[in-house]
């Protein structure tokens, strides 16, 4: 009997595992990925989804099986078995979730690091070299760690001012003010954000990035778009009556098209 139950347990776990992997690779619940850290995000999502599906189907199946198998048949009396606990079982289901959680935690740390979350945030909006170090609160960066030293030279600085109920983008280079965000493909953008009134949030679902835009505390968000196209910018923090309507677009262009746009809209020659 114990052999049979061991085989049963093994087969069920195997089926569950395969089902989890199958579901995670065939059910896509995420929008297009359009930034450098989006594929990294999707990888984490897939791993979490596999673990989640296995756990959820497993627990649900256990509950439904117990309800059917151990239901009280008509006319049946008396109690169930006198089983108050089982130390080895309890240790087992303390240890397994602990290991899973530890794995998920370390893995997501790795993902976070690959997204650039652990790099010291640097920003250089040239001409703003105050003696007093400006306190900037960081979002997630997207550049690989090796490039962090040359980041200042290569990243495109843009300033975002959020207000009820609009996003205003300012390009220091060319002194352009725009209601939409124009960025080139493949170049890191360093968005310095501050709010004029209440807390807003800058969210581009296709970039898998979100950062609150806070009054009184500038925040920085670095990202590298990888796909040309037109994606929504959504305010994700309740900011007043028109919160749902506070939307804009990010237009990701090829470098040449972006340069043209920059040239056409610049107030000064670059």
């Amino acid at each position: 009997m114990p052999k049979l139950s061991a085989i049963l347990t093994l087969t069920t776990s195997l089926i569950l595992g395969i089902a989890g992997v199958w579901v995670a690779y065939n059910v896509n619940m995420l929008p297009v990925s359009a930034s450098m850290n989006a594929p990294v995000y999707d990888e984490l999502y897939r791993v979490l989804f596999i673990i989640g599906v296995i756990l959820f189907i497993g627990m649900t199946a256990l509950v439904i099986y117990s309800l059917i198998q151990f239901r009280r048949r008509p006319g049946e009396t008396g109690d169930g078995i006198d089983l108050e606990g089982n130390i080895s079982l309890e240790i087992f289901w303390t240890a397994v979730p602990a290991i899973v959680v530890l794995f998920v935690g370390l893995y997501s740390y790795d993902i976070y690091d690959r997204m650039g979350g652990m790099q010291p945030l640097m920003h250089d909006h040239s001409g703003q070299m105050d003696n007093q170090a400006e306190r900037v609160w960081g979002g997630i960066g997207s550049g690989p760690i090796e490039s962090s030293s040359k980041k200042n030279s290569s990243s495109l600085p843009i300033e975002l001012t959020a207000m009820q109920f609009a996003f205003i983008f300012h390009y220091p280079k060319g002194d352009i003010i725009s209601g939409e965000l124009h960025v080139p493909v493949g170049r890191e953008v360093s968005l310095k954000m501050e709010s004029k009134d209440v807390i807003h949030a800058f969210w581009v679902p296709q970039f898998r990035l979100k950062q609150d835009v806070i009054p009184g505390q500038p925040t920085i968000l670095n990202f590298t778009p990888t796909k040309a196209g037109n994606f929504p910018i959504v305010c994700a923090e309740l900011c007043g009556p028109y919160h749902g309507g506070m939307r804009s677009n990010v237009i990701v262009d090829k470098q040449e098209d972006f340069d043209t746009w920059l040239k056409e809209n610049s107030k000064e020659s670059i």
């Binding site: 289901w93 609150d212 009556p241 749902g244 309507g245």
Partner: protein, 546 residues
């Protein structure tokens, strides 16, 4: 005590009004107070549910066309505040806690009966105040989180009334928490040890510790916020040098434990219901106790996971990710233990059992999305979206509210002496379960694909899924009808329940239904094995009870 000046020696409880009028009086009887909490909470649930209905109607179409935008924000603020502070917290703590804890510890009442009555009577006025603020210049419209500077810049009257009523409700909660701690630790019947108490006592002890430690922080924070609004101080107002992030830290220091204040008592109630209806001892009593206390400790140090996009420094993000994810361990133990309690039992598939099992399934899903949300890189995409809305409704509705219904089906015979109709109860469960999952499961997809929460208008590509969700909400609303009909029917014509219809071993069943004023006519019974099902000697005890 003034009572001692009276000529007769009756206890204060015996001087209370009798009949149905006692439910409207300043009663000191813990059972009356428990039912006051329950009925009052349920009325607020109907109001909060209607507001949820209004939200789902607005979201049927992508345009803001059902109500003005300001009103929509008031509705979502009131919905959240009512459901948390006037329905779930008072019912899982106040209603069942007051009714059951004195029975479980073998006492005749709570430690501080007057404080108990005060704690209850703070609720109806603050609830009414909150709701009527809608008619004075409009209710608060900054969400139940009331983040400044939005809460400072929206119309002041509604926000101030919101703060006042949440302060009063927090006060009520603290009074209740102190009372539960004192009752559980100090009023235990002689010879009854802590480790022999039913699990709900441990859940309430843990919850009350959280209430007493964290609610005062919320109170202080809201008082500072009201200074900012009324006296134009600058604690949280950035234009006066204040810091908006500090508010978020202080707010979530209470409001994350608040989740456990809503959920831990529900865990306790399930631990009482499952053994009785599966006729088996609760599996792993000791690990259950330690996991409750583990959740209490961890629950206090995870608040910043609500602030991963607020510009928190990387080290803080990491610490709170790990701490939060580890809550899954003690929580997981409890769920495995419940399934093990079902295993090998003789399970009655009645409404109480079905709602408890529905809770297990819903909460597992909510817990899985919770662990995912704890991961910073995952959270920066779905934070403040419908994914979060789905997650926490799986926790507080699929979790706590399912348990409340389960508990009503389970203890109604004790409350009233009448049985509920089980077929209607099963029907209620099926409609609620389908409606709930239809309403909230699709919202995970909405959040992942770009729909933020708290919006009155949205991208038209999300319309179909929102309509499905609204149909689910309609089913949830309809599901209260068979429930109410069942209650009404049973009170009027219900079958007599007898003292112990479930053949249970916990002390509240070892007295008449409904119980006498001081719980037992004679001495309180000494129940050393509240979960002793399936034992030879316990069968004899059960025979004796019959």
């Amino acid at each position: 005590m003034t009572i001692s000046l009276k000529p007769n020696n009756s206890s204060p409880e015996k001087l209370q009004p009798t009949g149905w009028l006692k439910y409207l009086s300043f009663s000191l009887d813990h059972k009356v107070i428990g039912l006051q909490y329950l009925v009052c909470g349920f009325l607020f649930y109907l109001i909060g549910g209607s507001l949820a209905g209004a939200i789902r109607v607005e979201l049927i179409s992508p345009l803001s066309d059902f109500m003005p935008r300001e009103v929509y924000n008031q509705v979502l603020t009131l919905h959240g505040t009512i459901m948390i502070f006037l329905w779930i917290v008072p019912v899982v703590n106040g209603a069942f806690g007051n009714y059951l804890i004195p029975f479980y510890v073998g006492a005749r009442d709570m430690a501080f009966p007057r404080l108990n009555a005060v704690a209850f009577w703070l609720i109806p006025p603050s609830g009414l105040m909150l709701i009527t603020s809608y008619f004075i210049n409009g209710a608060a419209q900054s969400g139940w989180t009331a983040y400044p500077p939005l809460s400072i810049t929206t119309p002041a009257a509604g926000q101030i009334i919101w703060i006042l009523s949440v302060l009063l409700l927090g006060g009520s909660s603290i009074f209740g928490g102190i009372n539960f701690i004192a009752t559980i630790l100090k009023l235990r019947r002689p010879d009854l040890k802590l480790m022999q108490l039913p699990m709900y006592c441990w859940a309430m002890l843990g919850t009350s510790i959280l209430v007493v430690l964290s609610t005062p922080v919320l109170a202080g924070t809201l008082i500072l916020l009201s200074f900012d609004i009324v006296a134009h101080t600058g604690f949280f107002n950035p234009s006066l040098g204040g810091n908006v992030i500090v508010y978020q830290h202080l707010f979530w220091f209470y409001s994350h434990p608040a989740v456990y204040i809503m959920v831990l008592p529900a865990f306790g109630l399930v631990s009482e219901i499952l053994p009785i209806h599966s006729r088996k001892p609760l599996f792993g009593y000791t690990t259950m106790v330690f996991s409750i206390m583990g959740i209490v400790v961890l629950g206090l140090i995870v608040w910043a996971h609500h602030m991963f996009t607020s510009g928190t420094p990387p080290w803080m993000r990491l610490f709170f990710t790990i701490a939060t994810a580890f809550i899954a361990v003690p929580t997981g133990i409890k769920f495995f233990n419940w399934v093990a309690t079902l295993w090998g039992g003789k399970i009655s598939l009645n409404a109480a059992m079905l709602f408890s099992c529905g809770f297990i399934i819903n909460f597992v899903l909510g817990g899985i999305t919770g662990v995912a949300l704890a991961q910073v890189p995952f959270d920066v995409h779905v934070h403040d979206t419908y994914f979060v809305v789905a997650h926490f409704h799986y926790i507080v509705y699929g979790g706590s509210v399912f348990v409340i219904f389960s508990s009503i089906y389970h203890w109604f015979p004790k409350f009233t002496g009448k049985m509920l109709n089980e077929n209607l109860g099963r029907f209620h469960f099926i409609i609620t379960f389908i409606g709930f999952n239809l309403c909230f499961a699709p919202q995970h997809w909405l959040g992942l694909n770009g729909m933020p929460r708290r919006v009155a208008e949205y991208d038209p590509q999300f319309q179909l899924i929102n309509q499905i969700s609204s149909v689910g909400a309609l089913l949830m609303a309809l599901s209260t009808l068979p429930f109410l009909w069942n209650i009404l029917q049973s009170i009027l014509y219900g079958e007599e329940a007898g003292d112990n219809p479930w053949n249970a071993l916990t002390p509240e069943w070892l007295t008449s239904s409904p119980p006498p004023v001081e719980n037992w006519d004679g001495e309180a019974p000494l129940v050393l094995e509240p979960y002793g099902y399936g034992k030879k000697d316990s069968n004899e005890t059960q025979e004796a009870i019959r």
